[in-house]
Amino acid sequence: MRNFLRIGQGTDVIPLLAAISRKPELWTADTYLRDYPQGPFGEVDSIILRFPVKSVKESEEEGAKHFSEYDQHECIDQPAYALLPEARPLIMGLMSYVGGTRLGRVMINRIKPGGVIFPHKDTPVHAEYWSRHHLCLQAEPGVVFRCEDESVFMRPGETWYFDNALEHEVINNSGTDRISMVIDVRCA
């Protein structure tokens, strides 16, 4: 297996899941990813904990101008991060474990049964700078996480690194919501 690496298992994710269950309104508080034009997350609910300054630009020129004025890698805490303190030790534990030097995007994504994250590659400048991790919070057999020609089932409590520069997709062919926390870490 070259595109995935399971780097942890047995993490207690129940306190975070319980907190999310107590605050279901967080799933619809920020629909930036779901609504992103032609993005791969049209069937996904997200709770965005950390993210860069959000913007949708109409043209490449507008995008280039935006990035010339901002450090596109700089991520800031979003309101949901303060509302889910149960997430912080999990994130900081990963930062410590992998020797992270900077914390990037953190999002909790929910794919309903039958839903997909459509096949896509993350932008090269992003995938090159950050290491992408998934901490699985809830999943049952039938969830297929494919990265190029490899597929894995990420069990709840497992943390995985994968190469998001390659084409990847997630198919939830189970009978239960699949919930995973995406954590981008800059490593030395």
Binding site: P113, G114, E140, P141, G142, V144, D149, S151, F153, I171, N173, S174, G175, T176
Partner: protein, 151 residues
């Protein structure tokens, strides 16, 4: 939705158990004399040695089909990594919609990753699946006979 994925036989055995009697009822020979009694521990042991392939078909999370095969250098041909099918099954409700084809395509992809050069599959005469294998480009190569010798 149908998905096919490599899974762990040892982990998924409890899910597999309800399908085995259906499979046995439909395909086994001499059922009046030979009960279903798999040696699960041998499958698990071979999986732990990296010699077993357990490919699973699911629909909305439900396990509705599977392929089990053994991967090892050929006993007669040690230079040839070989996949020998043990069993495969697709629930009757899911036949006729390319599920079998998807299953064997996934088996081939995984086999290639493991360095398999040649694979052998088979079909019962009383429930012939030759059409599936011939559609996938496999060659007919052998006929197996059985003869009950007594209790």
């Amino acid at each position: 939705m149908i998905t096919v994925m490599l899974e762990s036989f040892e982990e998924r055995l409890p899910e597999l158990l309800p399908l085995l009697p259906l499979h046995y009822e439909e395909l086994a020979l001499n059922k009046d004399k030979v009960p279903l009694a798999p040696q699960y521990e041998i499958y698990i042991e071979r999986e732990r040695r990296g010699e077993l392939m357990f490919m699973v078909v699911r629909d909305a999370g439900e396990l509705i089909g599977y392929f089990i095969g053994f991967v090892a250098p050929g006993l007669h041909y040690k230079t040839c990594m070989t996949l020998i099918m043990d069993i495969f099954y697709v629930h009757p409700d899911h036949r006729g919609n390319s599920t079998g084809g998807k299953l064997f395509k996934a088996v081939e992809v995984e086999a290639k990753k493991r360095g398999v050069q040649r694979m052998f599959v088979g079909s019962k005469c009383h429930l012939d699946a030759s059409f599936l294998f011939e559609k996938l480009g496999y060659e007919r190569c052998e006929v197996t006979y059985t003869h009950w010798l007594g209790d």
